[in-house]
C-alpha cells in the first residue's frame, strides 16, 4: 500500500509550491494507473483525488467509466465517492450514463436512506429525457418514504426531471399536491414543496391558482421566514391572474411589513407587492397607502445607516417599480442619484439602470455631468500629460483643475467605464435626442468622452478574434464618434459646432500619438464628418495635414478607407476653388499639396484590404492626372488670366458634391418596393462578354476618359452646399442658447481646453446680448444677428484665417457693418425671449411612406440605433444568444399543463383548451399500460408471479443481468402473443379502454401503416403489441448497445410513440 491518500495529495500540493504543475501531472499519472486497480479501495481513493484535481481545473471526463465502477461499489463510503464523481463530471452526453441507468434504479430502491439519497441528489446533475423516463417509476414511490429527508429531496429531483421531461409532473404532481395539503407533513418537506412550486409557479402560474387557499394558510401561520419569502414570490406571480387575491393578501402583507424583524422578509413583502402589481393605480385609496408605505420603506433602506446590501436590494425594487410607476421613483431621485456616486460598483450599476429610465430634459444635464465627473476623476492619473497640454491654451483653468485633484477615486474598471459611456450615449440619444436641449453642451460632452474612453481593444482582439460582437461593444470610442456624426447629420443647427469638434479631435489625435498607431475608433466617424462637411471647417488645410499624418499610422482598414475618402474631400475643397485665378502661387501650392497627398496614398495601393486598395488606386491615379493637368496649365500672368484646370475645379469637387446626406431609418431599405418586371438574373447586355473583349482591345486615352467622367459628374451636383445662398446658412447657424444650468460644475468634467473654447464661444455669443454685461466691457448692442454672420465670415475666409489671432473688437465691427450689406434677415432678435429654449430641429430618420414610423423628435419609439427592421427576428436571435452559460432550459415546461392531470384524477372532462394535452397524456398513459402489461407477461414467463395490486407506475424491474435481459427479450418476443392470450382477463379489462385509444393513436401518430383491425379485445391487444414489437425490433441494435435492457427498450419506443 504505497498509494497516496487524498490527504497526501493535498499535503504534497502544499509542499510543492512553485512547481505544482509538475506535481499534479505526476499525481494524475499515478491516479490513472491506480484507478484501474482491482482493489476497490485504491480505486475509490484515486477517484477522490481525481475529483479534487478536477476542482482545480483538471478535466476528469476520461475517468467516467471508473466513476461508474466506484458508484456500483457495495460499500457506502466508496459509493458516495463514485456519486460525487458523477455529479462533478458527468454531462448529459457522457456515454456511460446509459450504463448507469440500472444502477440508479437499483440504488433508488435500496433500503438504507443514505444510499437512496445518493442517486436522488445526483439525478438533477445528469438527467436526460430518456433517463428521466426510466427512473421515474422508481423515484415516485420515494415521495412517500418514511424519512422526510428522502421525501424532500425526491420532490426537488422530480422537479428537475420535469424540466427535461415534462410528463414527469403529470404523474408526480398529484402526489406532490397531496404532500402539500397534508397538514401533518414535516415542515421542511412543505418548505421544499413550496420552493419547487415557486420555481414552477412563474412558468405556469394558472396551474397553481387552485392551491392559493393552502398557500395562503401557510403564509399566515407558517412561521417560517424562508418559506414565507418563497410564498410571497409565488403569490406575486399569481395575483395578476386572480385579482381577488390582492384584497386577501394585502392585510397579511402590510402586517408583515409593519411587524417583521427580518429584513429579508420585509423586503420580499415589498417586492412581492411590486411584482404582483398590487401597487395598482393611484386612484384606489387603500393602494395608495400601501404604495407610499412601500416606497418610504425602500427609501429608508437606501438611507439606512449605510447598509450596502439594503441599498442594493432597494435599488432592485425601484428598478421594478420604475416600469409601472415612474412617478413614485422620480420622487426618490435625490437618494438614487447619491447611489450613482457610491464607490460600490454593483450599486452604481443598479442606480444607473434606474436613472436611465428616469431621464428627462430637466435632469439629463445633471445626471450626465455626475457621470462625467466620475469618469473624469477616475481617469485623471493617466491624463496628466493631457492636462499639461491643455494648460497651454488657458493657464488659469489648468491651475484651477490641478487644485481640484483632491478626492481622487480609485481607477474604475474598464468594463464599467465603457458601460457608463454607453449609457450616457443612450440616455442622450434616446427618442431621437428628445432630452437634449443644448446640443453645444452635448458636443462638448462627446468630445470629452472621446478623450476619456479607454483605448479600443480591437488590436488585441484581432489576434484572438472570434469575439465578433464583443469587439464592437468594446470599441466604445467609435460609438461616441458615431454619436457626434449623428448629431452633425441630424441637427443642422449645430453642424458647424460638431464639425469644429471633429476638427479638434483629429488635431488632437494626430498630435497625441506621434509614434504609435492610432487606436481610437472615433477617428472613422470623425474623419467622415470632417470630410463631408469640409466647408464648415475652420481650417481645412490644417485638418488635411493632420489627416495625412494620421493615415500611415492607421491599422483597421475601414477607418483607413474612410480617412482616404475624407482627405480627398478636403483636398477637393482646398484646391478646387474656381473663383480665383490660376496664379503662380496657387499653382505651386496646389502641386505641392498634390504631391503630398499622392505620397501618402501611394503605399496604400498595395494594401491588403480591397476597399482601401481600390480607393487608394483611384485617388492616386486621379491625382496624378490632375497633377499633369496642373503642370500643363500655365499660370496666369498680369496680362493673361488663366483659369485653373477643369479637372481640379470641376471634376474632383463634383465627385463629392451631391445630394445632402440624411439619416435613414434602419428598416427603410427593406421597404423599398421591388420594381415590377425586375429580373436580376437577366443579363445586363446580351453579349456582355464580347463587349468586354472589345473594351479590352480599345485603348481610350485616359485624359479623355476623365473628362468624360467629369462631365458626367457635373450634372449630378445640383445642390452643392457651397452654392446655397448665404441666407440659408444664416438661418441654420447656431442660435443663442441659455447657459443657465452649466455653471461652475462643468469644468469638473470637461477638459480645460474644451471649457476654454466654450467660454470663448459663450462670451462671443453674449457680447451681442443686451442683457449680458461682458467682461470686456464692450458696449452692449441691440443688434443680435452678428454672431451667425461672423461664423459665416470665418468659414468663407477659410484656410488662411486664424480666428484666434483676430482681435475680437475689430471683427465685431466688421460684422456689424456687414450685417447691413450681407442682406441678413434683419429681424431683431429681441423679439425672442432670452430664456426660451432654442427650437432645435432634429431631423428624423428618413423612411418610406407606409412603412415603419420614422423617429420624430417627440416620438417615444425606439432610439435611433435600435434595430426596428424585424423585432421578432431580433428577439429570436436574442433568445438564442440569451441561452446563458448556467441557464437551465425550462421551455419544455411551458407546454405542459397540470390541469389535464387534475381533471383526469377527478374523472371529469378536460377543458377545451386542454384537450390536446389530454390526448397526449392518455397516449402516454396507454403506452405505459402496454409496457406494464408486457412486463407482466414477461414475468409470467419467468415464473415470477406478480400480485394484482402492483401500482401502475410502481413496477420495479429487478435488475437483470445483461445476458439474461437479452435472452428474455428474444424469448418474450416469440412467446409474447401466446402469453398475451394466457394473461388473465381481469388485467385486460382494466386497461381495455386505454388500449383502444392507444391503438388508434399509434396508428395515426406513427403512420407506419400497421393495419388496424382490432375490434375485439384480444385482437386489440395483439395489434398494439405487434406495433410495439416492430418498434423494439427497429430500435434493437441501438438499444442493446445503449441500454442492454428490455424494459428500457420498450419505454424508449413508448416515448417515441407518445411524443409526436
Amino acid at each position: 500500500m504505497f498509494e497516496k491518500s487524498l490527504y497526501d495529495l493535498i499535503r504534497g500540493l502544499r509542499n510543492h509550491k512553485g512547481n505544482e504543475k509538475e506535481y499534479i501531472q505526476n499525481c494524475l499519472k499515478e491516479c490513472r494507473s491506480e484507478i484501474k486497480s482491482q482493489d476497490m479501495d485504491v480505486k475509490a481513493t484515486a477517484l477522490l483525488k481525481i475529483i479534487y484535481l478536477e476542482m482545480n481545473g483538471h478535466d476528469m471526463s476520461w475517468a467516467s467509466f471508473h466513476v461508474l465502477e466506484v458508484m456500483s461499489s457495495p460499500k457506502y463510503h466508496q459509493k458516495r465517492v463514485g456519486y460525487l464523481g458523477a455529479v462533478q463530471s458527468f454531462k448529459t452526453d457522457t456515454e456511460v450514463l446509459m450504463l448507469a441507468t440500472n444502477l440508479l434504479k437499483k440504488d433508488l430502491s435500496a433500503s438504507s436512506p443514505i444510499v437512496i439519497s445518493l442517486p436522488i441528489a445526483a439525478l438533477p446533475h445528469i438527467i436526460t429525457p430518456s433517463l428521466a423516463l426510466s427512473v421515474l417509476a422508481d423515484l415516485l414511490p420515494r415521495l412517500s418514504h418514511s424519512h422526510s429527508a428522502i421525501r424532500k429531496k425526491t420532490i426537488v429531483t422530480l422537479y428537475r426531471l420535469a424540466l427535461v421531461y415534462p410528463e414527469t409532473l403529470r404523474a408526480a404532481w398529484p402526489k406532490i399536491k397531496e404532500r402539500l395539503m397534508d397538514k401533518h407533513e414535516d415542515p421542511s418537506v412543505t418548505a421544499a414543496i413550496v420552493n419547487v412550486v415557486c420555481e414552477l409557479g412563474w412558468r405556469r402560474p394558472q396551474d397553481f391558482l387552485p392551491l392559493a387557499p393552502r398557500l395562503f394558510e401557510l403564509l399566515v401561520d407558517g412561521g417560517n421566514n424562508w418559506m414565507a419569502i418563497k410564498l410571497i414570490k409565488l403569490f406575486a406571480t399569481l395575483t395578476p391572474l386572480e385579482p381577488r387575491l390582492v384584497r386577501k393578501l394585502l392585510p397579511p402583507l402590510t402586517d408583515l411589513i409593519r411587524t417583521t424583524p427580518a429584513m429579508s422578509l420585509l423586503y420580499e413583502c415589498i417586492n412581492g407587492i411590486i411584482q404582483g402589481g398590487i401597487l395598482g393605480d393611484s386612484e384606489d385609496d387603500g393602494r395608495e397607502e400601501i404604495a407610499s408605505l412601500c416606497v418610504s420603506k425602500l427609501r429608508g433602506m437606501i438611507t439606512f445607516n449605510g447598509d450596502a446590501n439594503l441599498k442594493y436590494v432597494a435599488l432592485l425594487a425601484f428598478n421594478r417599480i420604475v416600469v409601472t410607476h415612474p412617478f413614485l421613483v422620480a420622487q426618490q431621485e435625490d437618494v438614487i442619484m447619491e447611489c450613482i456616486d457610491s464607490e460600490d460598483i454593483t450599486i452604481r450599476i443598479k442606480a444607473l439602470d434606474l436613472v436611465q429610465g428616469m431621464v428627462s430634459s430637466d435632469n439629463l444635464v445633471s445626471i450626465v455631468s455626475r457621470l462625467m465627473r466620475q469618469l473624469k476623476t477616475s481617469t485623471n492619473p493617466n491624463n496628466d500629460q493631457l492636462d499639461d497640454l491643455s494648460t497651454d491654451s488657458s493657464e488659469e483653468m489648468g491651475a484651477e483643475r490641478r487644485s481640484r485633484k483632491r478626492d481622487e477615486a480609485p481607477p474604475l474598471p474598464e468594463d464599467y467605464t465603457i458601460d457608463v459611456i454607453g449609457r450616457i450615449l443612450k440616455m442622450c440619444s434616446q427618442n431621437n435626442y428628445s432630452s437634449v436641449v443644448d446640443f453645444d453642451w452635448y458636443i462638448d460632452v462627446l468630445t470629452q468622452l472621446i478623450r476619456i474612453a479607454p483605448a479600443s481593444r480591437k488590436e488585441l482582439d484581432s489576434d484572438g478574434m472570434a469575439l465578433g460582437p464583443k469587439s464592437t461593444t468594446a470599441d466604445i470610442s467609435e460609438s461616441i464618434g458615431n454619436e457626434l456624426r449623428n448629431v452633425a447629420v441630424k441637427v443642422k443647427a449645430v453642424r458647424a459646432a460638431a464639425v469644429r469638434a471633429a476638427e479638434l479631435i483629429i488635431a488632437k489625435l494626430s498630435m497625441e500619438t506621434t509614434s504609435h498607431q492610432v487606436i481610437s475608433g472615433s477617428l472613422k466617424p470623425v474623419a467622415w464628418i470632417a470630410g463631408e462637411y469640409a466647408n464648415l471647417l475652420s481650417n481645412p488645410s490644417d485638418t488635411l495635414n493632420h489627416l495625412l499624418q494620421l493615415i500611415p499610422r492607421i491599422r483597421p482598414s475601414e477607418v483607413l478607407a474612410t480617412c482616404l475618402q475624407a482627405s480627398m474631400k478636403l483636398f477637393a475643397l482646398i484646391a478646387g476653388n474656381d473663383q480665383t485665378y490660376w496664379t503662380a502661387e496657387r499653382k505651386s501650392m496646389v502641386s505641392l499639396l498634390m504631391a503630398r497627398v499622392i505620397h501618402t496614398y501611394e503605399p496604400l495601393v498595395l494594401h491588403p484590404s480591397l476597399e482601401v486598395q481600390e480607393r487608394a488606386v483611384e485617388f492616386t491615379e486621379l491625382l496624378k492626372l490632375t497633377a499633369e493637368a496642373a503642370s500643363a496649365q500655365a499660370s496666369s500672368t498680369d496680362e493673361l488670366e488663366q483659369d485653373p484646370p477643369l479637372l481640379l475645379t470641376q471634376a474632383i469637387p463634383s465627385l463629392f458634391q451631391g445630394w445632402e446626406l440624411n439619416s435613414v431609418a434602419v428598416g427603410a431599405q427593406l421597404n423599398v418596393p421591388m420594381p415590377e418586371g425586375l429580373d436580376l438574373d437577366e443579363p445586363i447586355h446580351p453579349n456582355l462578354s464580347s463587349l468586354l473583349a472589345q473594351a479590352d482591345s480599345l485603348m481610350l486615352p485616359i485624359q479623355e476618359d476623365d473628362e468624360f467622367s467629369a462631365y458626367y459628374n457635373e450634372k449630378a451636383a445640383p445642390t452643392s452646399i457651397s452654392s446655397e445662398p448665404a441666407i440659408n446658412r444664416l438661418r441654420d447657424a447656431p442660435e443663442t442658447t441659455s447657459g443657465s444650468y452649466q455653471q461652475a460644475t462643468e469644468d469638473s468634467y470637461l477638459d480645460a481646453d474644451i471649457i476654454a473654447r466654450r467660454k470663448a464661444e459663450r462670451a462671443e455669443r453674449n457680447r451681442d446680448d443686451p442683457f449680458y454685461i461682458g467682461d470686456l466691457g464692450s458696449p452692449s448692442r441691440s443688434q443680435g444677428t452678428s454672431t451667425p454672420i461672423h461664423n459665416i465670415l470665418q468659414n468663407e475666409n477659410g484656410p488662411d484665417l486664424d480666428i484666434d489671432s483676430i482681435p475680437i473688437m475689430k471683427l465685431d465691427l466688421g460684422a456689424i457693418s456687414s450685417s447691413g450689406v450681407g442682406g441678413a434677415p434683419g429681424t431683431p432678435q429681441r423679439s425672442k425671449a432670452p430664456k426660451s429654449r432654442p427650437q432645435i430641429v432634429v431631423a428624423a430618420d428618413e423612411t418610406l411612406v407606409g412603412s415603419r414610423p420614422s423617429t420624430p423628435r417627440t416620438g417615444s419609439q425606439h432610439d435611433s440605433d435600435a434595430d426596428p427592421s424585424s423585432a421578432s427576428a431580433k428577439s429570436r436571435a436574442a433568445r438564442k444568444l440569451k441561452q446563458s452559460l448556467l441557464q437551465v432550459d425550462s421551455s419544455h415546461l411551458r407546454n405542459l399543463s397540470l390541469e389535464a392531470s387534475h381533471s383526469e384524477d377527478s374523472g371529469g372532462g378536460a377543458l377545451p383548451h386542454e384537450k390536446l394535452a389530454e390526448t397526449d397524456a392518455e397516449m402516454a398513459k396507454a403506452m405505459k399500460e402496454v409496457q406494464r402489461l408486457r412486463l407482466e407477461m414477461q414475468r409470467a414467463n419467468e415464473r415470477i408471479h406478480v400480485a394484482q395490486g402492483v401500482p401502475t407506475e410502481g413496477v420495479v424491474v429487478k435488475s437483470k443481468k445483461k445476458k439474461e435481459g437479452k435472452k428474455a427479450k428474444s424469448k418474450s418476443k416469440s412467446e409474447e402473443d401466446g402469453a398475451g392470450a394466457g394473461e388473465d382477463e381481469k388485467e385486460k379489462k382494466v386497461v381495455k379502454k386505454k388500449k383502444k385509444k392507444a391503438e388508434t393513436e399509434v396508428a395515426e401518430g406513427g403512420g407506419e401503416g400497421a393495419p388496424v383491425g382490432g375490434e375485439g379485445e384480444g385482437e386489440a391487444v395483439i395489434t398494439v403489441k405487434k406495433k410495439e414489437k416492430e418498434k423494439v425490433k427497429k430500435k434493437k441494435p441501438k438499444r442493446i448497445i445503449q441500454l442492454g435492457d428490455e424494459d428500457a427498450g420498450g419505454t424508449g419506443a413508448g416515448a417515441e410513440a407518445g411524443e409526436p
Partner: protein, 194 residues
C-alpha cells in the same frame, strides 16, 4: 433557482465547486477566476452582490432592464469569511437577502460539524463540504435551512473527520483563525431570515 455554489480562498484557489447545470471544466475555471477578480477588488463596506462576470453578462445584457428573464443567472451573491469567499450564482427568482443568509447557514453548519471550522478543514474534507451542501441544496433548489437537520443529515452519512493534527500549526496559508470566531457569527445579523 441556484445555478452554482462556489467556495474559494483569498488566492482564488477553489475549495468547493458545485454547478447545478453542466459546464465544461475549463469554463468553470474561467468563471471562477472572473468572479474572483470581481470579488477581490471590492472596497470595504460594499454590498454582498457582484456585478455579473463577463462570461455571464455577455448573454444577459440585452435583457437586463426590459424583461426580467427568470431562467438566466442574474445574481451573484458572495460572503467573505476569514480567508474564504462563498459564492452563490442564482436566478432572479431567489431572494437576494435570503441567499446571504443561506451562506451563513452553510458556514454555521460547517462550523458545527468541524467545531471551529477553518480553511484547512475544508481543504482536507472537501467530501464533507459536498455532503453538507447536499443536505441544503439539491438540484439548485433549497431543501433545508434548519441547521440542526443539516448537521444531522451529514452526520448520518458517517463521521466527520477532523483536520490532521500536525497540520494545524499551519503552512503559510491563512489558517488558525476560525471562520466562525473570526466573524462573530450568528449574532449581529440585521436581516436575519430565520
Amino acid at each position: 433557482m441556484i445555478n452554482a455554489f462556489l467556495v474559494f480562498n483569498g488566492q482564488g484557489q477553489p475549495r468547493l465547486t458545485k454547478f447545478y447545470t453542466q459546464l465544461d471544466t475549463s469554463i468553470q475555471q474561467r468563471l471562477i477566476s472572473e468572479i474572483f477578480t470581481l470579488v477581490a477588488n471590492r472596497p470595504k463596506g460594499s454590498c454582498n452582490f457582484l456585478p455579473l462576470p463577463p462570461l455571464l453578462a455577455a448573454s444577459s445584457t440585452s435583457t437586463s432592464s426590459s424583461e426580467p428573464h427568470n431562467d438566466v443567472p442574474s445574481l451573484v451573491t458572495y460572503r467573505n469569511y476569514a480567508t474564504l469567499y462563498f459564492i452563490i450564482i442564482s436566478t432572479s427568482t431567489e431572494s437576494p437577502l435570503a441567499l446571504i443568509d443561506l451562506i451563513q447557514v452553510y458556514v454555521e453548519s460547517l462550523d458545527r460539524l468541524f467545531e471551529n471550522v477553518c480553511e484547512l478543514d475544508l481543504i482536507f474534507n472537501f467530501e464533507t463540504l459536498h455532503a453538507t451542501l447536499g443536505e441544503m441544496i439539491v438540484g439548485g433548489v433549497v431543501i433545508e435551512t434548519n441547521m440542526e437537520k443539516i448537521v444531522q443529515g451529514v452526520r448520518a452519512q458517517g463521521t466527520v473527520a477532523k483536520r490532521p493534527v500536525n497540520e494545524s500549526r499551519g503552512g503559510g496559508m491563512g489558517l488558525g483563525s476560525g471562520l466562525g470566531a473570526g466573524l462573530g457569527m450568528g449574532g449581529n445579523f440585521v436581516w436575519s431570515g430565520r
